[in-house]
């Protein structure tokens, strides 16, 4: 591959790539996201490759294994371009028919298109499926169009044009001002304004600075970041490079999961390709800006997603959090200023630069801008990864997109933020998806895991489940967290088994206050949140359990 030495050369390459492509050439895009892969879609990909070969169509048809399309419940998914015909629950047995009927004869196969279980209506294209209709897929939308292993696919979709704009038309100060004006808030859990965080690291003393992608995603029920990162790694990388340019960092780190070979391979390949094109490394596109990226693989402990623990892990040490009297943005990896943002936050950066802060700020609510990825799980008809504008009501997510509750049951509660989050009762379903409103109700948005529970869910047992998770995952460094979670779990287990004693609920509340106030990191500080939110909205269930003892 040629190394690109200027913005002009990049734009020329982009033009060449687009010119070489025939937009009318059929392309079979097969979802290779985590769930579809678990459905065994490697067999499906192989079947398509073989069938196309058998029919001697290799020159006329493209086949792509793409990132997650989001509609995991109905996987494996296949989209046939240019007509964008969408097939769900495709098996290798369907392949010869798809190639003969749809790819060659341009006919839609009725039994493979989506049928709405309630209305019986059929949808030929993705955009007609109710699951997609209420979404705004700004950062996930390209997943079904690009092969995550092909930088050319990303370039053909306009990739790296935001980087060019930032490097050659904007000063770092101007980029920072745009991010601040867009009010991009961290998607990893806290919702802290990314611009302010960038500014802190930028202004911190020291020549050597770091930028980091947090791709840890350790909480149960959260799988949107890996869908995005596996499916479109260059979008995250482009955001990171722009961030590094703004902050003045020469070194970046990607911290991500160990358990997905696709994710690791796609990231590694994206870095290699970006380096070969000169979009990463020394003198990026001839701009004089140098930036290198290293990948670190996390090995499955929840606390290593915490910023200071994550940074220790990158240093090769045990991922134990440290007190943050001095923030990691000032003193992080090897005591140097280190700016950490999560996968989704970085992926938002290129579009803000390309389309402007004004456009971005027009999406969402007054204080929560842009779109949010949500992974829908639990008792819901359509589990999967969705992207909606902030401000969308929870009702729309559960019923219009999620398709409601399976088996004719009623909705009881929705839970955000996993083990460190909170549950809301069905009566609050008209609440908009908004960082501050949800936090006020005791169920902060967190990273975007939305867990739905039907009428059979026992809220005491749900709180106990999350507390058990944290008691297991507490690193044990600080006593309030280690012992606090253990003692709360003991009492909660007693209550849920009908062995609660008078005053136990009050004792739980007192313990949770101490754990909250005295723990070192967010794991301990928010460990009692599911407990407190269920006590707030479902106290009668605790009292009923107490009455039986």
């Amino acid at each position: 591959m040629p190394r690109l030495n200027s913005a002009f050369e990049l734009e020329k390459l982009r033009k060449d790539i687009v010119a070489q492509r025939d937009s009318l050439k059929p392309c079979i895009a097969i979802c290779a996201g985590t769930t579809c892969l678990a459905y065994g879609n490697d067999r499906l990909v192989r079947a398509f490759v073989q069938e196309v070969k058998k029919q001697s169509l290799e020159a006329q048809v493209d086949i792509k294994a793409t990132g997650c399309h989001g509609f995991c419940e109905k996987g494996p998914h296949v989209v046939i371009y240019p007509e964008e015909i969408c097939y769900v629950e495709v098996t290798p047995q369907d392949v010869p028919e798809i190639v003969a009927q749809t790819v060659k004869a341009k006919k839609v196969i009725d039994r493979l298109i989506y049928t709405d279980p309630q209305t019986g209506e059929k949808a030929v294209h993705q955009s007609e499926i109710p699951f997609y209709q209420r979404q705004m897929r700004l950062i996930m939308g390209n997943n079904s169009k690009i092969d995550p292993q092909s930088i050319d696919d990303y370039l053909a979709c306009g990739g790296y044009s935001a980087l060019v704009k930032a490097l050659f038309e904007m000063s770092p100060e101007q980029v920072l001002a745009e991010i601040k004006k867009a009010n991009l808030r961290g998607r990893g859990g806290g919702g802290f304004p990314a611009g302010l965080k960038w500014e802190t690291t930028r202004n911190a003393p020291g020549k050597e600075k770091y930028v980091i992608v947090n791709g840890h995603e350790g909480e149960p029920g959260a799988f949107m970041d890996r869908a995005l990162f596996t499916g479109n790694p260059h979008s995250v990388l482009e955001g990171l490079i722009i961030g590094a340019y703004t902050i003045g960092a020469q070194q970046g780190f990607i911290y991500t999961r160990h358990d997905s070979p696709q994710l690791k391979d796609n990231i590694a390949r994206a870095l290699t390709q970006a380096e070969e094109y000169g979009l990463l490394g020394d003198n990026i596109l001839g701009s004089g800006f140098n930036f290198h990226v290293e990948v670190h693989i996390d090995i499955g402990i929840f606390v290593s997603g915490e910023s200071s623990a994550l940074m220790r892990s990158i240093e090769g040490k045990i991922p134990e959090p440290r007190p943050k009297y001095i923030r990691t943005s000032v003193s992080g990896i090897w005591e140097r200023p280190s700016n950490l943002n999560n996968v989704e936050t970085w992926a938002n950066v290129p579009q803000i630069i390309s389309r402007g802060s004004q456009w971005y700020a027009s999406i969402g609510t007054q204080k929560s801008k842009g779109t949010k990825l949500i992974s829908l799980s639990g008792n819901i008809v359509n589990a999967g990864v969705i992207e909606v504008p902030l401000g969308t009501s929870l009702r729309t997510i559960v019923y219009d997109i999620g398709g409601g509750i399976p088996n004719g049951k009623k909705l009881k509660a929705v839970h955000f933020g996993g083990p460190m989050g909170g549950s809301l009762p069905a009566s609050l379903l008209d609440t908009p998806l908004d960082f501050d409103e949800l936090a006020q109700l005791g169920a902060p948005l967190g990273a975007g895991g939305m867990f739905v529970m039907d009428e059979d869910a026992n809220m005491v047992s749900v709180a106990r489940f999350f507390l058990q998770f944290l008691a297991d995952e507490s690193c044990g460094k600080c006593v309030p967290c280690r012992e606090g979670t253990r003692q709360m779990l003991k009492i909660l287990t007693n209550i849920s088994e009908g062995k609660g004693r008078q005053g136990d609920i009050e004792l739980l509340e007192e313990l949770s206050q101490v754990t909250q106030a005295a723990s070192l990191c967010a794991l301990g500080r928010t460990a009692a949140d599911p407990l407190l939110s269920t006590l707030r909205y479902f106290r009668d269930e605790y009292e009923a359990k107490m009455a039986t003892s």
Partner: protein
Amino acid sequence: MQTGSALHWLKMTGGPAIRGRSQFREASMDKTRIDEIIDRHQGKVSSLIQVLLEIQSENHWLPKEALQRVSEKLQVPLTRVRHIATFYKTFSLTPKGRHEIHVCTGSSCHVRGATEILERVQEHVGIRPGQTSPDFRFSLETGSCQGSCSLGPEMVVAGNHHGKLKAGDVEAVLKDYK
């Protein structure tokens, strides 16, 4: 060419990438292989976790000799190597069975019936989470989210996902793993 890229993807995943990594090797890895892994990381101290991870994923557990070799080569005290090796649940200091069973007990699988699945697995293989059967046929682990919640309740055996399980399915699934 795009068809080529799909082919590459298949090659990269070795076809079933997440499958069939259950070859049990009781003997510990030879020194040269460990050295190769360390050299690939240029012997950097900060690569300690990555080195252990690679040994674990190849060998399925971390024999004492391997820890000693890592300590020598990276010039990190053995106590620190052991600190890391015992801290993470991913690392095992004892040999694992031929087939690792991983029952997802994440929140979504939990409300979709993971408890019954786990109970049935325990009954059937006669071991509890964290244990390996005496004939080294199975090791059992629980853990949270695999990221494929729409498949829940789910268990992964030797890298193969088995989704939308009912307790009655467990025996039939495990039967195929000899």
